[in-house]
């Protein structure tokens, strides 16, 4: 089960299932809840076979899953609930709001196949707002890890942290960004590259694309200050402000709508703390559709090439230091 394969060679959902198994061995209170998508989440077969008594598949009943998790949490258990991103968040928004967040119940919610990675299923499954809607909920911590090591670290932290957390889980394999010793802390951004020209802020799936863009821009003589924010909430405002003060130019990129998510959080913070020019990349205010990632990157302008172009455009602007 837990083989010697380097973590980054595994699918993220496999890392999710394996890590929960490892955590369950240490924490007798960890339970896994699913709503008929356990294979997609990666807890089936690994977790449900290893811990059949701590695996609850409630059926296609997301609202009930969240409520049951809240009840388990109140009784001292640590439930990890997963479904496709839209059904783990917007479908059950009021149940999460009241039974979980308002009550400060120790429930961990995992949304799989976020944003455009839901490609073949189209608009119903392509949730572009989960970071935004989860972020505006009091008591909720919102995470979007960028690789397998960070995912594992986030899950370890979630098991220890007492309170509601939402985590975006990519399904497939991702290029490694961090090393195996990576330790996660909420509200702490990761500095992936230093530069004084443009601040580039990314999260989750987009971070490896942002990293590539930053490397390629260096060859053009544009020095990017690259920050990955695994924690959308709490947001690491301190490092954001420090970087924005130096560069005066900020580009954000996320696998979400440009409204209200990472870009929104960055704008809210900067507008009040240290105004700077901001360009937000992601999907504009519209629904998803059946499409490949490449098509959607090009259509909405948030692939590597577009990140580079947004940084170049920023460079043509004067610095904004108010």
């Amino acid at each position: 089960m837990l083989t010697d394969t380097p973590l980054h060679e595994l699918e993220m959902r496999v890392v999710y299932g394996n890590t929960l198994c490892a955590l369950a061995a240490q924490h007798p209170n960890i339970y896994v809840l699913e709503a008929d998508l356990s294979k997609a989440s990666g807890t089936n077969p690994v977790f449900c076979c290893s811990y059949p008594d701590r695996f609850i598949n409630v059926g296609v009943c997301e609202a009930n899953m969240i409520g049951v998790a809240a009840g388990l949490a109140v009784e001292g258990k640590i439930p990890f609930c997963a479904s496709f991103t839209p059904f783990a968040t917007r479908r059950v928004y009021d149940q999460i709001t009241i039974s979980v967040a308002y009550a400060k119940a120790n429930v961990k919610i995992v949304g799989t196949a976020p944003g455009i990675t839901a490609g073949p299923n189209g608009g119903t499954h392509m949730c572009l707002q989960d970071l935004a809607i989860m972020r505006v909920m009091p008591h909720m911590v919102v995470l979007s890890p960028a690789d397998a090591y960070e995912l594992r670290a986030c899950l370890h932290w979630m098991a220890e942290y007492e309170g509601p957390v939402y985590l975006q889980l990519l399904r497939g394999q991702l290029p490694p960004i961090f090393d195996p010793s990576y330790g996660f802390a909420p509200g702490r951004a990761q500095h992936l590259r230093s530069g004084g020209d443009v601040t580039l802020v990314s999260t989750g799936y987009m971070t490896s694309f942002a990293r590539q863009a930053a490397e390629e821009l260096a060859a053009e003589g544009i020095a990017v200050d690259l920050w990955h924010h695994p924690s959308i909430k709490p947001l690491d405002g301190e490092s954001l402000a420090q970087s924005a003060r130096r560069t005066g130019r900020v580009v954000t990129v996320e696998n979400q709508s440009v409204l209200g998510g990472l870009g929104g959080a960055v704008c809210e913070f900067l507008a009040e703390q240290c105004p700077a020019y901001v360009s937000r990349l992601g999907v504009p205010d519209r629904f998803g559709e059946v499409a490949t990632e490449e098509y959607l990157f090009n259509k909405h302008g948030f692939g590597v090439m577009h990140i580079k172009e947004a940084c170049r455009t920023m460079m043509r602007r004067a610095q904004c230091r108010l």
């Binding site: 008929d36 059926g59 296609v60 009930n64 059904f87 189209g122 608009g123």
Partner: protein, 277 residues
């Protein structure tokens, strides 16, 4: 005035269902993703609705206000709806293989904004029956006599909203509304029995005030009889519990839940089409 057309003969209906199943297999193969199992289990019922003289509809005037409405609440089975609508003349048959292609109106789940002949946007399970209740209420408000048919999946019927709709429709005696439960015994992670056994299901719907008709959902004569009986019922909604087989019509897909959401390879497609010849 929109009128019911005469249905095809039983033999012709069975042939039509085969053609529709062929389309389903070809479409999902071409798209390289999609849900064959739950599309095939619903094929005979959709054939009966559209070609058995049941639905009042007119492909030349698809949005006629007096048309009967059909909502596929289990939206992931939409290939069977597109295929049926193509055979009925609503969609060019050669467009079917644009399923799930870039920019196609044939989205992976029914999208009313992309394809207005879809009566509802579905695919997030559990929502279609409520929309159908609304349409049936509107029929009463507008003194229209169209009927509303909603197909729901058995896994889908685990969603709480289905029971909210069922409770309301029963209490409010919403007639002109027919729910068809595609009881193919499987959901995504396994069988209904393993995951969430909600039997006795007929008793549940009956207790909520629905008239129940239980049938073999692959027996064309039985399907037609049930739909005819449903038309005669007034004063309460009707639930047709159709016992079906997931993947029906293709031997290696039948009762094999691996085919819930997997596309056939070219070889598997050829094999399936040979069986459906």
């Amino acid at each position: 005035m929109l009128a019911q057309s005469n249905g095809l003969t039983l033999d012709a209906l069975r042939d039509k269902a085969k053609v529709i199943r062929r389309h389903v297999v070809e479409m999902i193969t071409a798209a390289k993703s999609g849900h064959p199992g739950g599309s095939l289990s619903a094929a005979d019922i959709l054939t009966a609705l559209y070609f058995g003289g049941v639905l009042r509809h007119d492909p030349a005037n698809p949005l006629d206000p007096n048309r009967d409405r059909f909502i596929l609440s289990k939206g992931h089975a939409v290939p069977v709806l597109y295929a049926t609508l193509a055979e009925a003349g609503y969609i060019p048959v050669d467009q079917l293989t644009t399923l799930r292609q870039l920019g196609s109106t044939l989205q992976g789940h029914p999208s009313k904004a992309d394809l207005p002949i879809m009566e509802a946007s579905t695919g997030s399970l559990g929502q279609g029956l409520s929309v159908g209740v609304g349409m049936a209420l509107a029929a009463k408000m507008d003194m229209a006599d169209y009927r509303v048919y909603v197909m729901i999946g058995d896994g889908e019927a685990e969603e709480g909203q289905i029971w909210e709709a069922a409770m309301y429709a029963g209490a409010a005696k919403v007639d002109q509304l027919v729910a068809i439960l595609d009881y193919n015994k499987c959901q995504l992670d396994g069988t209904i029995e393993e995951i969430l056994n909600w039997e006795p299901v007929a008793e549940k719907w009956a207790a909520f005030g629905w008239h129940i008709i239980e049938i073999n959902g692959h027996d064309m004569a039985e399907i037609l009889r049930a739909l005819e009986e449903a038309r005669q019922i007034t004063g309460k909604p009707v639930c047709i519990i159709a016992h079906t087989v997931k993947g029906e019509g293709v031997s290696f897909m039948a009762c094999n839940n691996e085919w819930h959401g997997k596309a056939p390879t070219a070889d598997e497609c050829a094999k399936a089409l040979a069986e459906l010849a």
